[in-house]
Each structure stands twice: as structure tokens, then as C-alpha cells.
């Protein structure tokens, strides 16, 4: 199984941090600290005492939240430009929000467009839930936004008013269902073609171009 390797920089850093102290400090590491167990006898206040040695350097003190560091590291690896993070960041006012219509381009098959019902934020495991109607059948897809098989995510249509729920599961009900979003995708594609008509872009450049455009906004 192919896995990533520890960067050599970290290894050297670790080696440097774990290099033992020289002999002069060895004496300093001698048990100068004592743990005294006192007694109630005023004549002999110390019942007993034990030498206590200093603990080795703590990884937890330096990295108290390894899970957060892990997420950051993996996101750096999978999203070098930061576009994916930015598209769903809460800090970004232009970010995609529940209720928007998004299109996900994957490395196989046709791109899937649908209204975003929910965004599950979980570091590198962050995912979006899209809903659409294909051949009059409701289809819902979860996509991991940092997955390498997801080539691009584009905002097709923005909901005019902010959704007042974070999870729009009520849109599954027939009364609230948006139905097929194909007309929105068509409109978006036409408008995009107008803007980028001077460049004859290939089909495979669509996803990346759109994504980059969103990221640079």
C-alpha cells in the first residue's frame, strides 16, 4: 500500500530534539528534585523522600491537538492552492452555502450538479451533500471535497436569500423539492461561454478553470 513518507525535515528535527544532552548536563539531570512525604511529627518533619527524575520532552506539550495538525497537514497535501478550503470556508463571504446549486466534476463519468443540502465540516473529511433529479428520480450524492477523485466544484447558482437552516433536509419533501437543476446548469454554462468565448477551452479545463475562478474571487 502506498502511503506517504515522513518528511525528512521532520525526521531531522526530531533527531535534533532527541539528541541527548552532553555529559555536563547529564549531571544536571541527576535527581536534584526530591519528592518529600512529610510526617506529622514536628521533631522529624520528613517521613521519607524519593528522588524524582525529569521526564523526557513531551510531544503532547508541543502538539496538544495532533488531530488538528493531522487535518491541516492532509489538507495541505490534498489542496495545495487552498481553493477547496476557501470554497467552503466560513470566513469566506463568497463561499458555497447550503441552498446553492453546485456542480462536482469527478475523474469518472459526468459531472454531478445538485442543490447543496448540507456541508459536513470535518477537517480533511469535509463533505457536501448534493441533491438533484435525474430521469425524474431524486438522487443524492455525498462528495468528500478533498478527495483526489473530485476534480472541481463550481457554484452554478446562488440561492437568492440565505437559507435559515444549516441542513436543508426538508428539501427532500415534494413540497419543497427543487426538482431538476438542469436548467440552472444550462444557464450557467451559457453565461460562462459568453465570458470565456475568446478562449477556446476544452471540456477538461472546465472544472479547474471554474474552481480557480472561485478561489481567486
Amino acid at each position: 500500500m502506498a502511503t506517504e513518507t515522513t518528511p525528512s525535515a521532520t525526521e531531522t528535527a526530531a533527531a535534533a530534539s532527541s539528541i541527548p544532552p552532553p555529559i555536563s548536563t547529564l549531571a544536571a539531570r541527576k535527581p536534584t528534585k526530591f519528592h518529600v512525604i512529610p510526617s506529622r511529627n514536628p521533631v522529624k518533619p520528613i517521613r521519607t523522600a524519593f528522588a524524582v527524575y525529569a521526564p523526557p520532552p513531551s510531544a503532547r506539550a508541543v502538539h496538544p491537538e495532533p488531530l488538528v495538525s493531522y487535518h491541516a497537514q492532509q489538507i495541505r497535501r490534498l489542496d495545495r492552492s487552498g481553493a477547496r478550503t476557501n470554497l467552503f470556508s466560513k470566513k469566506n463571504p463568497d463561499a458555497a452555502k447550503p441552498g446553492d446549486v453546485l456542480q462536482v466534476t469527478t475523474n469518472r463519468g459526468e459531472p454531478f450538479a445538485g442543490v447543496c443540502l448540507s456541508i459536513k465540516r470535518a477537517g480533511v473529511d469535509t463533505a457536501i451533500l448534493l441533491r438533484n433529479h435525474l430521469t425524474k428520480v431524486g438522487v443524492e450524492m455525498w462528495y468528500k471535497i478533498y478527495s483526489p477523485s473530485v476534480l472541481g466544484i463550481e457554484i452554478i447558482w446562488r440561492r437568492p436569500k440565505r437559507a435559515r437552516r444549516a441542513r436543508l433536509y426538508y428539501m427532500r419533501k415534494p413540497r419543497h423539492d427543487m426538482g431538476n437543476v438542469e436548467h440552472l446548469v444550462e444557464a450557467w454554462r451559457r453565461s460562462r461561454n459568453v465570458f470565456s468565448s475568446n478562449k477556446g477551452r476544452g471540456a477538461q479545463g472546465k472544472g479547474k478553470g471554474g474552481k480557480g475562478g472561485k478561489g481567486s474571487k
Partner: protein, 368 residues
């Protein structure tokens, strides 16, 4: 349990007897007074708790029979046989201790692999258990740090003798032979594990508290209707009636405390090791809540990592802790001194002397 070895004086008798049969009687008579009915023990203070113990009958000991030396096959039970039997499933080298910090996913070749992130916090070798002394080979590891005030006096003495700081958790990892042991006081880093190797993860599962039969053992429960009265989730009958014994068989599954028991998840991959953060990422999930202690060891049902890697990891470990022998020896001597001082009640003076020495050394280094 301690091995059932014969007491030292008896062992010496048998060894002397087997060594030379002609002189055995003379050796015996010099040490043990033989009478018609009893073999009296020597008067020298050779017995006692300090010199081992035995559950055998104390005065009539078969010394020459029922042994391999008498031409019998080696016993199939007992400590030696048990070790031999478990040899194939005992890892070659020690595993590591780590704290579960959470679960996430890793994308590998376009595939999503769920993973668990574990942190190795100040993992040090605290002791080595040996066949001669303890009956088996094992490495005792300590994890984390504990305030000395929260450690009992006997354990403080234990850590003092080892020259390591008090540990939050201690755990043993059995190893196959003496070659798997590690020197006391060395610190283990995540790169002790090879990237991509198979490991087993042992930890205590999340405690569920007192749970009923449906949740704890998956019982079916009872009907919601058909005259059922207040027995929808009860376990029903616990055994046959008269004719079947009219009793509940031992081991009957019943409501009780669920979870918080040792769970081993076998054959997980090591996806990532990072010395700087001290993390080990392994595929899949391990039992227990965040913050629980996990024992990660080489998988017993898969091939261990290559011998070259094992040797390399060991070499790197020893290079990172070059003065471990000196430190241990120093700590041992210091412990003996302090122990004597404690016995004599002069520990206060010993402490004062040590601190004075330290300050002197500090000033000396400062002046240098």
C-alpha cells in the same frame, strides 16, 4: 503468578545429586541431616521468603524421578512448555503505547481510508522482564507523566531505581526471546513502527454501564403486544425447568456491565508515523474513547517487518539514547544510597547533600 520453581536450597540439592551420584550422599549428609523418617533441613538460614518458595511438600521431594534427566519426555505443561507453545504468536520485538486522539480519513491512491490518529507521549522502557527472573521475556513500557505527589511511595522507589520519571500508564509487551528486550530508560518514537506494516491494536472499549440483555448480547426482546405486560425488553427465561436441571447454567448471558473490556483489533496498517508530532496513524478504528491508551504491536497473524528494519529501528533507538547505560547505573547507585539513607532515617541529610552538590556543580558550570 510467580513460576513454580523449586526453592533454592532444593535446587542446589538436586543439581548436586545429578552432578555426581557417587558424592551425592556425602554432599547431602553434609548439608541435610538424614534420619529414618525425616530429612532435617540445614540450620543455616537458607529458607524464607527471600529465597523463593515452593508449593511442593516441603520434606519429601522427588529429586531424581519424573524429570527429563531421568529419560522422560519434556513436560507438555509448565512454564517452559507454555513459552514454547506461545513462541509463534509472540512478537519478535516490543510494540508501543499510544493515546487515541481521534479518527479521520486518509486518501490513498484516490481511495478513502478511515484511520485512527494516536499519539505517543513520552513512551519509555521502564523494565525488562526476563525468563530467569520472571518466567517470561517482556518489555515494560511507560506512557505519559504523573505528578510524583500522585504516586505511591513503593512506586516512587521503583522509578527512582530505574532513573525514569513516574509514568501515567505502565504496560508489558511480551517478546519471543531475549533479543527482543530493550535497555531501561530509552525512549521510543513513532518510527519504531514501519510505514505500511501490519499491527494489532489492543485497548479497552468504551464503557456502556449496566446494560440489558438486548443491548449487551443482542437478545430479541419480547413482543410489544399479545398480552405482554411490562416485559418488552427483559431477557425472558434463563434456563430449562425441572428435568433440565432447574438451574441456570454457568456463563448464562444476562444483563450487566457492558464494555470497558479489552478489545483487540487485528491486522491494521500503519499509514503514517511522525516523530515530530509523536503521532502514529493506523488504518481503521480501534476500540475505546478518545484519550484511551492503546497497545500497538506487530500483528501476530501477519509477517513481522523485515529483520533489517527491526535491526535499523533498534540501532536508531540506541543512537538516540547513547548514555542510557550510564544513566541507569547512576540511578541504581543513587537509589541504593538513598535507600540506605531512608532506612537509617537520614534521608533529610542525603537530600541536603545532593542539593548542595547540585548547586555547586551548577555554579561551577556557570563559572566555567
Amino acid at each position: 503468578m510467580a513460576p513454580r520453581l523449586p526453592a533454592r536450597w532444593a535446587a542446589s540439592l538436586s543439581s548436586a545429586a545429578s552432578a555426581s551420584t557417587s558424592t551425592s550422599t556425602s554432599v547431602l549428609t553434609t548439608r541435610v541431616l538424614l534420619t529414618e523418617r525425616h530429612a532435617l533441613l540445614p540450620r543455616t538460614a537458607k529458607r524464607g521468603v527471600k529465597y523463593g518458595w515452593s508449593t511442593l511438600p516441603s520434606r519429601s521431594r522427588p529429586a531424581r524421578f519424573n524429570q527429563v534427566s531421568a529419560g522422560l519426555p519434556a513436560p507438555t505443561a509448565g512454564p517452559a512448555a507454555a513459552l514454547k507453545r506461545k513462541e509463534a504468536t509472540t512478537p519478535l520485538r516490543t510494540g508501543v503505547l499510544a493515546v487515541k486522539t481521534g479518527v479521520s480519513a486518509m486518501f490513498i491512491d484516490g481511495m478513502r481510508m478511515p484511520c485512527t490518529i494516536l499519539q505517543m507521549e513520552q513512551v519509555e522502557v521502564v523494565a525488562a522482564k526476563t525468563r530467569a527472573k520472571n518466567g517470561y521475556w517482556a518489555v515494560q513500557l511507560g506512557l505519559g507523566h504523573k505528578n510524583a505527589g500522585n504516586v505511591t511511595a513503593p512506586l516512587l522507589g521503583y522509578y527512582e531505581a530505574k532513573g525514569v520519571a513516574p509514568k501515567r500508564h505502565l504496560a508489558e509487551f511480551k517478546v519471543r526471546t531475549e533479543a527482543g528486550l530493550l535497555p531501561v530508560g530509552v525512549q521510543l518514537q513513532p518510527d519504531w513502527l514501519k510505514l505500511g506494516q501490519w499491527v494489532d491494536a489492543r485497548s479497552n472499549s468504551r464503557g456502556m454501564g449496566f446494560a440489558g440483555g438486548m443491548k449487551r448480547h443482542g437478545f430479541g426482546g419480547q413482543g410489544a403486544s399479545h398480552g405482554n405486560s411490562k416485559n418488552h425488553r427483559t431477557i425472558g427465561t434463563t434456563g430449562p425447568s425441572q428435568g433440565g436441571g432447574s438451574r441456570v447454567h454457568p456463563g448464562k448471558k444476562m444483563p450487566g456491565r457492558m464494555g470497558n473490556e479489552r478489545v483487540t483489533v487485528q491486522n491494521l496498517r500503519v499509514l503514517k508515523v511522525d516523530n515530530e508530532m509523536g503521532i502514529v496513524v493506523i488504518s481503521g478504528h480501534v476500540a475505546g474513547p478518545k484519550g484511551c491508551v492503546v497497545k500497538i504491536s506487530d500483528a501476530i497473524k501477519k509477517e513481522p517487518p523485515a529483520q533489517t528494519f527491526i535491526d535499523k529501528a533498534r540501532r536508531i533507538l540506541l543512537e538516540r539514547n547513547p548514555d542510557h547505560e550510564a544513566k541507569l547505573e547512576q540511578a541504581r547507585l543513587r537509589h541504593l544510597e538513598l535507600k540506605d539513607a531512608r532506612k537509617e532515617g537520614t534521608i533529610g541529610e542525603a537530600m541536603a547533600a545532593t542539593t548542595a552538590l547540585a548547586t555547586a556543580a551548577a555554579t561551577e558550570t556557570a563559572t566555567v
